[in-house]
């Protein structure tokens, strides 16, 4: 690490003041942009939760904490997040082991399929499961009830367990993906030596394999936990109508019912502080339980590990994996597509009730076309801006290393830990005319600003990782040959990290395209996003129409993903 400092000092000596200025400008730009995008909204939340018109006022905050509904929402948020984390982790690790280390057939295909839930917005899954197992009217529920002559519906998805189930089925890939790649990089000789020393299969798994991949498990579990705590879509669709609130849905309800009045937003800010406290507690708890150690024995190069022979368990486990895939990937998709063809919700799913009318209405609606345009605009712009800004921050932190680079890094990563709902409230407070009279409320710009804050850390992480691999000596060489700092940056560093920048773009563009948590609090009459439009249609009771738009959205997502896969493959070849 010292070498970098020395190198940059030498470089600074090469062109003296000029270089210093360029670095200073970049550093200053970083600080100012991060101040505007990240710091101001967060400060506004804290300020408004505790202060009113310049005076300390804890009344709102205390009232919100004492309110019974908010407490039960907090309890539900925790139950759901912990449940989803535990079950999602178990499921992710199990399938990672099965596909990574056993001799189960069709591994490559299944691995690709197990990543699919990661692509889809969980709230579409929630919609599908609600259609099937709504506690009063689900289609499969009704079918089962008649089949077995039951008095009540057999399954009620509109419950805490229902929410956990749907979240698990969309979040387990977080753990799955991490653990699969860790298993691949693991040194197989460690397992072999244990076996030679007489350990049984089960002992090898428990004593060697699992501890080795613990950091990967821990990272994935952390991702499930924070995502679930902050998640709006699934609890909103499955719990809201049945009075099961979580903190994010409660914040939405408070803001919605107060009609955008300042009081409502202040209450939302107070609840946001509660949510941030819960997230922080969860992070600490998680850190205690799964403290991530570093294990050098996981090597960077891949070695071919010995596959565990499943023998008699092969067929049952294969069937289990296929059933899981069918249940969490195919069934919800089929259900949404079927409902989208239905003339009216509630009719039996038979051919004479099918029509294309819902698609006609969807495409004739200004709202829908606007929502697709809005989502494309906001997510492409956010992707491009974050790609450059994230790289800039990463460059400043990695290469320029100014005073306060730690602060810079923390600030840019902060929104990653802050739930989207909370970020939205901060953005409303900051940009609805209270600072320099800038009012972006009800415009697409406020959604864009929120996306920038929310997704900046994504591109910063990928660019950071890429910059770490670009040794300073490359830039130095260019400089020695007489290139200016700008030239060395443009001709050497940027081309080298371009693939990372592009993948950073897609890492932002794809989730922003299907996003609902942030924009549900920010949309105005003309600025519904695709996610918000689907949610509103469903909320207004137009379920087949919502399903039709959801099908269109899924189509868009599949097309975009295919393009991304193609592009990134090409890039690898270069």
């Amino acid at each position: 690490m010292k070498r970098y400092d020395g190198a940059s000092a030498e470089l600074a000596a090469v062109d003296g003041r000029k270089r210093l200025n360029m670095d200073k400008v970049m550093t200053a730009v970083c600080f100012v942009l991060l101040l505007i995008i990240v710091v101001i909204p967060i400060v506004m939340i804290i300020y408004n939760a505790f202060f009113n018109e310049g005076r300390l006022e804890l009344g709102t905050f205390v009232d919100q904490i004492k309110e019974e509904k908010n407490l039960s929402a907090m309890w539900n948020t925790l139950k759901i997040a912990i449940g989803a984390t535990i079950l999602g982790t178990i499921m992710g690790v199990f399938y990672a082991w099965l596909l990574g280390r056993s001799d189960i057939p069709a591994k490559g295909l299944m691995r690709a399929l197990f990543n699919i839930p990661y692509m889809f917005p969980p709230f579409l899954g929630a919609m599908a499961w609600d259609m099937m197992f709504n506690g009063r009217s689900g289609y499969i529920n009704k079918f089962l009830r008649t089949l077995f002559g039951l008095k009540t519906m057999p399954i009620n998805i509109n419950s805490v367990w229902g929410i956990i189930f749907v979240e698990v089925s969309y979040y387990f890939p977080f753990v799955f993906m991490q653990v699969v790649s860790a298993l691949e990089r693991m040194d197989p000789t460690l397992e072999e030596s244990a076996r030679i020393a007489g350990a049984k299969q089960r002992q090898v798994i428990w004593k060697i394999t699992l501890p080795l991949v613990k950091p990967a498990i821990s990272a994935g579990a952390l991702l499930i936990l924070t995502t679930s705590l902050a998640h709006f879509g699934v609890p909103a669709i499955l719990g809201y109508a049945r009075g099961i609130y979580t903190l994010p849905t409660r914040i939405y309800a408070v803001i919605y019912n107060s009609g955008g009045s300042f009081d409502g937003i202040r209450q939302g800010a107070a609840l946001s502080v509660m949510l941030v406290v819960v997230v922080s507690l969860a992070l600490i708890l998680q850190n205690r339980i799964l403290s991530a150690g570093s294990y050098d024995i996981i090597k960077g190069k891949s070695m071919r590990p010995t596959l565990i022979k499943l023998r008699g368990a092969k067929v049952p486990l294969l069937i289990l994996a296929i059933l899981t895939l069918v249940l969490i990937v195919i069934v919800p998709l089929v259900m949404i597509v079927l409902i989208s063809f239905l003339k009216a919700y509630g009719l039996p799913l038979s051919f004479e009730n099918f029509t294309l009318d819902q698609y006609r209405t969807v495409f004739a609606s200004n709202g829908t076309i606007d929502s697709i345009k809005n989502s494309l605009f906001a997510s492409i712009t956010a992707g491009v801006v974050c790609m450059f800004l994230g790289t800039l921050v990463a460059y400043v932190v990695q290469k320029i290393r100014p005073k306060g680079k730690g602060a810079l890094e923390v600030i840019s990563m902060l929104p990653y830990a802050i739930p989207g709902t909370v970020l939205s409230i901060g953005v409303i407070l900051a940009w609805s005319g209270r600072i320099f009279g800038i009012n972006l409320y009800n415009t697409i710009w406020i959604i864009l600003v929120a996306y920038l804050a929310r997704y900046l850390s994504f591109s910063m992480k990928t660019s950071s990782a890429a910059l770490l691999q670009v040794h300073s000596s490359l830039e130095e060489a260019a400089r020695v040959c007489g290139a200016s700092h700008t030239e060395s940056l443009a001709d050497i560093t940027l081309p080298l990290i371009r693939p990372a920048m592009v993948s950073g773009f897609f890492l932002i563009f794809l989730p922003a395209m299907r996003e609902v948590t942030t924009s549900i609090l920010l949309y105005g009459p003309y600025t519904r996003t695709l996610g918000v439009q689907i949610y509103s249609l469903r909320d207004a009771g137009m379920i087949p129409q919502a399903a039709a738009l959801a099908t269109v959205a899924i189509g868009i997502i599949i097309v975009l993903n295919t393009i991304v896969t193609k592009l990134t493959k090409d890039r690898k070849g270069v």
Binding site: S261, K343, A344, S365
Partner: protein
């Protein structure tokens, strides 16, 4: 000189003539709580008649739209619409008091009964909406379906009735307030409904769909939404109550200071015209005009209408809503 004057006069004549002949152009914005399919039908018919005017609409539940207008009008702001068309007439009394409306009496109102209009010309009924009872045809026989509001208190419907949350939908809010106001029903009636396990849904169309998808046997529902869903094939049916029918006039009004006032008037004229009202009827709505043919017999409904005291509604709406929310523990 004469020639010049003559030329100028001619020029002015031509200009004024062309100005008066000039087709209306530009945009017009409508806020409405009607169903989107119906708004699309109106948009198509209006734009077919005035191809140079671009009509836009913003669709949301009544409660949400009032909230939205409140936000927009806050601190002297301008409401971003030209015309507003919601379900509940009592909302318009408060709009009027807030100074949001521009008086406009359309020439088309000669065919509209005077009691459907604001005496000061701030708003005019755009359609008639009546609350009644809907049921799922797979679960309930027509003969058994509740016929009066009190039939809903029968224990056989325990936990099987759905209604819309009155704070979310202006039509249900009006119905609730009218029932609260009545001596025959009042607070006790809603307590009895709650005791019989009535549940709330957040939007009008959602309520109807809960009846259609057999979540509930019976719903407190609107005539036009039911008719619309039934036309699409929803397995539900609807009838008016045999007494104490509550009808709303669903007023339409021009927004004060709106960006496209002329086009706003044009849109109001169109909606209130025979042609416009026929589009409504074709889309299962009930016309306010006396010269439009339709299946619903409005005079028969009017004969069993419950008297509603508008002044009391205007003054006590919030307290009725608070009482309702208290009973339903919201």
């Amino acid at each position: 000189m004469k020639k010049v004057i003559a030329f100028l006069v001619a020029l002015m004549l031509v200009m004024s003539l062309s100005a008066s002949l000039a087709e209306p152009s530009g945009k017009v914005m409508l806020y409405s709580s009607m169903q989107e399919a119906q708004l699309q039908a109106i948009e198509q018919a209006f734009e077919a008649k005035y191809p140079t005017v671009d009509m836009e609409y913003y669709y949301a539940g009544g409660g949400k739209l009032v909230t939205k207008m409140t936000t927009e009008a806050k601190d002297g702001g301008q409401i971003a619409s030209d015309v507003v068309w919601l379900g509940d007439p009592s909302d318009y009394e408060s709009f009027k008091a807030n100074g949001w409306l521009e008086p406009y009496v359309s020439p088309e109102t000669e065919h509209i009964a005077k009691e459907y209009m604001d005496p000061e010309g701030y708003y005019t009924a755009g359609r008639l909406v009546t609350m009644g009872i809907a049921w799922n045809v797979g679960l309930v026989d027509e003969a058994d379906a509740p016929k009066t509001w009190n039939d809903l208190l029968d224990p056989k419907w325990f936990n099987q009735i759905i209604m819309t949350d009155p704070s979310q939908a202006s039509t249900t809010k009006y119905w609730m307030a009218a029932m609260m106001q009545s001596e025959k029903y009042g607070e006790a009636y809603f307590q009895a409904l709650k005791d019989n396990g009535v549940e709330l849904e957040s939007g009008t169309t959602a309520t109807h769909n809960r009846v259609a998808d057999a979540s509930y046997m019976v719903g407190i529902c609107l005539d036009y939404v039911s008719a619309n869903l039934m036309a699409q094939g929803s397995p539900m049916n609807f009838h008016y109550t045999t007494d104490d029918v509550i009808t709303m006039t669903s007023p339409i009004a021009l927004i004060k200071g709106c960006a496209n006032e002329d086009n706003g008037k044009l849109l109001m004229d169109f909606i209130l015209s025979k042609e416009g009202q026929e589009v409504l009827v074709a889309n299962n709505l009930v016309s306010v005009r006396d010269d439009v043919e339709m299946q619903v017999d409005t005079s028969a409904i009017a004969s069993v209408n419950m008297a509603v005291d508008y002044n009391d509604l205007g003054a006590n709406l919030q307290s009725y809503l608070d009482k309702f929310n208290h009973i339903f523990d919201k």
